[in-house]
């Protein structure tokens, strides 16, 4: 591959991609220059695939053929668009029309009415894009997208991740050429350092510094590795990037290999992500075929290749030394640091390990320059951050925002607020290592420092929204259950500490604790923080400490009054049927999963408390408000 050949492929594809990125009027002009009248994009990310996007693509192919317009319309299966709760998602360009929750029947209509006759199927649109006067907002101008700044996600939902030429069409692999052609390894490291980007895996260590350490470490053999072992339950940024833009990772790792002097790379990815693994494999094969991996890349004398290693379901393997131990084929137990991986990592050699999202920014930093990147964000946190927005929020999905955006903007504007008229209570960031930010701090700008100040952390990017129905004691107990499960057992403070902490929380949730137990938690937590071997144990108490700090009254209600204000902790609850209100419709009895409700038609029913599992099905089924939770 030469630079001329690369440029030719780019020119061939860039117009097609511009149609998907420009505003509607300019996109229409651009579309006329391409061989396709319209393009139809279908999300093929895990979220939409789970809601049936494969059937949509099949139906689309069939219907286009049936209508005889398969040569005028380009069908593109992309990665994640971000709005996972509305899947399967279909978008038509150049208009940017956004169809949500599409069914195979809907596809037939979209092909017939929209693609063939040019009439938008208004009733199938995402409702936020349709106005009363009949006008339609293009996708890019919806609240969800307007506030976002997509850098790491720039190609997700835009290109076909299994087609390397589409990636090249977005100036892909040009940064790699630039580096190999005209930069020294020192200059590459300096550029990354100057951009101010910090590790997106959670800890926030300056990425450029890591590159320099690895470059300067003595040794002939070095490795470049990518941490795609996204363990935080409820976070799916890395998966979406691998599914939507795998070449960005390959290009960045190759750039890194030149900068630090490595010839072999590893991507350690969760086996639970089959779609991501498949797309990455396809991308690796294509990159080799086009000469972006292998011997003498671009004829500049640099050799590099990448191998995929599958994780096997261990949260601790997201910790860097444990991850490397796992690639070596052992139990994924962490090792003491120092020596850091940059000095003594994989197979005892200097190793550069970065997270997926960090890599996703690199090619653009090289191509557009460090100052472009550092112009975004806050004083100490540059650039953007991707969050997986989940829990009690209208627009569940993937968002990328400039650092410094407030929590309020994310939740109320991008996220569309809390559904069902409930009140926002807290946002959890950092997963099992992070903490909860209460509603009163909703105007906090999001960056590494301000989150840490509130007792939480940036983490890898899970952002779980909770409303008034979530109990904070229950949430911390949930996280501790997780860390008890996932503690590798190598060091005592973590192995025993997590279990003891869980027992104390369990006591509180059952109303059996005393105020002394809160002090005990505090002591234990501080011991774990100071003496655990790795970040898993050191940060395991965070969810508990932050909720005690921010929601102390809720803990005290459990302890002193024996009640759970949010109505979650089962031992403190009872379900009853109010005889006066019960009409005897039998609906609750029929739906009770454990047959704990007795009664005859048109007579008040009764709950047998010894059988009741407190699942709440009866409450949600009762049309008369006769079931109450006390």
């Amino acid at each position: 591959m030469t630079f001329e050949e690369l440029t030719q492929i780019r020119k061939k594809n860039s117009d097609l991609i511009k149609v998907r990125k420009l505003i509607a009027s300019e996109a229409a002009e651009m579309a006329e220059k391409t061989e396709y009248r319209k393009q139809i994009l279908v999300c093929g990310g895990t979220g939409c695939t789970s809601s049936g996007s494969k059937k949509i693509i099949d139906a689309l192919d069939n219907e286009l053929k049936a209508q005889g317009i398969e040569n005028e319309i380009l069908v593109v299966r992309t990665g994640c668009f971000g709005l996972c709760s509305l899947g399967p998602i279909v978008i038509v360009y150049p208009e940017g029309t956004f169809y949500a929750q599409v069914t195979p029947e809907g596809v037939v209509r979209i092909v017939d009415e929209h693609l063939k006759k040019g009439e938008v199927c208004k009733d199938l649109l995402y409702k936020e894009t349709l106005h009363e006067d009949g006008s339609i907002t293009p996708l890019a101008e919806t609240n969800f997208y307007k506030k976002q700044k997509r850098i790491a996600l720039r190609n997700c939902g835009v290109i076909d991740p299994e087609n390397i030429e589409e990636y090249i069409g977005t100036r892909g692999y040009e940064a790699l050429y630039k580096v190999l052609d005209s930069m020294t390894p020192d200059e590459v490291c300096q550029e990354v350092l100057d951009s101010g980007i910090r590790g997106r895996g959670g800890a926030g260590f300056p990425t450029g510094r890591k590159w320099m350490f690895t470059k300067d470490a003595p040794g002939d053999v070095k490795y470049v590795a990518c941490n795609a072992d996204e363990g935080d339950p409820g976070a799916f940024m890395d998966r979406s990037i691998l599914e939507g833009d795998p070449h960005a990772i390959i290009e960045a790792m190759t750039i890194a290999s030149y900068a630090v002097g490595a010839h072999q790379g590893y991507v350690y990815v969760r086996a639970e992500y089959p779609v991501a693994v498949h797309r990455l494999q396809v991308a690796l094969d294509q990159a080799r075929e086009y000469g972006f991996l292998g011997k003498d890349i671009f004829g500049k004398g640099h050799d590099f290749d990448i191998e995929i290693r599958l994780g096997a379901g261990a949260f601790v393997c997201g910790e860097e030394t444990a991850l490397l131990t796992s690639i070596e084929g052992n139990r994924g137990e962490p090792r003491p640091r120092p020596p850091f991986p940059a000095v003594k990592g994989l197979f005892g050699k200097p190793t550069l390990l970065n997270n997926v999202e960090t890599y996703a920014n690199i090619a653009q930093i090289i191509r557009k320059g460090a100052s472009w990147y550092s112009s975004m964000g806050t004083e100490t946190s540059k650039g953007t951050k991707v969050f997986a927005l989940g829990g009690k929020i209208t627009n569940v999905g993937l968002v990328e925002i400039p650092m410094g955006t407030t929590l309020r903007e994310i939740i109320e504007e991008i996220g569309g607020g809390i559904p069902n008229g409930k009140k926002f209570k807290a946002a959890q960031t950092g997963g099992p290592s992070g903490g909860c930010i209460p509603a009163k701090y909703i105007d906090t700008p999001i960056d590494y420092e301000s989150l840490a100040k509130l007792g939480s952390m940036m983490g890898s990017g899970g952002l779980i929204v909770m409303d008034e129905d979530n109990c904070m004691v229950d949430v911390s107990k949930f996280y501790l259950e997780f860390t008890v499960d996932e503690s590798c057992g190598k060091c005592t403070p973590c192995r025993v500490g997590t279990r003891k902490l869980h027992q104390l929380l369990d006591k509180i949730s059952k109303g059996k604790a005393t105020m002394d137990d809160l002090d005990l938690i505090d002591q234990l937590a501080n011991h774990m923080k100071s003496s655990s071997l790795c970040a898993l144990g050191q940060s395991a108490p965070n969810p508990v400490l932050s909720t005690i700090k921010q929601f102390r009254d809720e803990y005290e209600a459990h302890i002193k009054e024996g009640c759970c204000p949010a109505g979650v902790c089962k031992e403190l609850l009872q379900y009853e049927i109010i005889a006066d209100k019960c009409k005897g419709c039998t609906l609750c009895a029929r739906n009770c999963p454990v047959k704990a409700i007795e009664g005859t038609v048109r007579n008040p029913h009764v709950i047998d408390k010894s059988k009741c599992i407190k699942c709440g099905v009866c409450i949600s089924n009762c049309k008369f408000g006769a079931v109450v939770r006390k």
């Binding site: 086996a271 992500y273 379901g313 569940v396 996280y479 590798c488 999963p593």
Partner: protein, 169 residues
């Protein structure tokens, strides 16, 4: 260890041949034990002690090392799974939307706990941490099929559909 010995090992010669090919491919490769175990589980569905022994002999590592790795990672199973593996997501996004109640309803329906298999070998229950379909929370998967936006009262009908389908064959 005593539990798994109750299930007699029923590996075939074809499976063993496949396993030996996998072992040959990874022998001598740095860090080759994990991929070998992953592919072996793909062949047998689980990793009984007999298979671990063959891997240890084939790769030239000790059985204790193989056992140590196989028991460390939650993906590896030392006991066979059900014909239909029902996996309820207990990731945070699903949990705050009530997936624990979905799991309870499933355990009630099948009469087994998470990690167990029904007596007829048809169903087993697992809990998992995030399948990445957080937009559909709470989520359960049965085999490749994903069920999203679940409520506990839907479980019975879903399981029945698998029971009937099996009965009809």
């Amino acid at each position: 260890m005593s539990e798994q010995n109750q299930v007699p090992f029923k590996g075939t010669e074809v499976q063993e041949k496949q396993l030996q090919e996998v072992i040959a491919k990874h022998r001598g490769q740095p860090g080759g034990l994990m991929p070998t175990l992953q592919e072996a589980q793909g062949i047998y569905g689980y990793l009984p002690i007999e298979v671990q022994r063959m891997i240890a002999d084939g790769l030239g590592v000790s059985l204790s090392e193989v056992f140590g790795v196989a028991t460390f990672y939650s993906q590896f199973s030392l006991t066979p799974k059900g014909e239909h593996v029902c996996s309820v997501c207990l990731g945070t996004a699903c949990y705050v939307k009530g997936s624990d109640k979905v799991l309870e309803a499933l355990e009630q329906k099948l009469g087994i706990k998470a990690g167990e298999v029904t007596a007829d070998g048809k169903f087993s229950i697992e809990s998992c941490r995030c399948v990445g379909a957080c937009g559909l929370a709470p989520v359960m998967t049965i085999g490749e099929e994903v069920y999203g936006k679940l409520t506990p009262d839907q479980i019975s009908g879903i399981i029945d559909s698998y029971m009937n389908e099996k009965g009809g064959e």
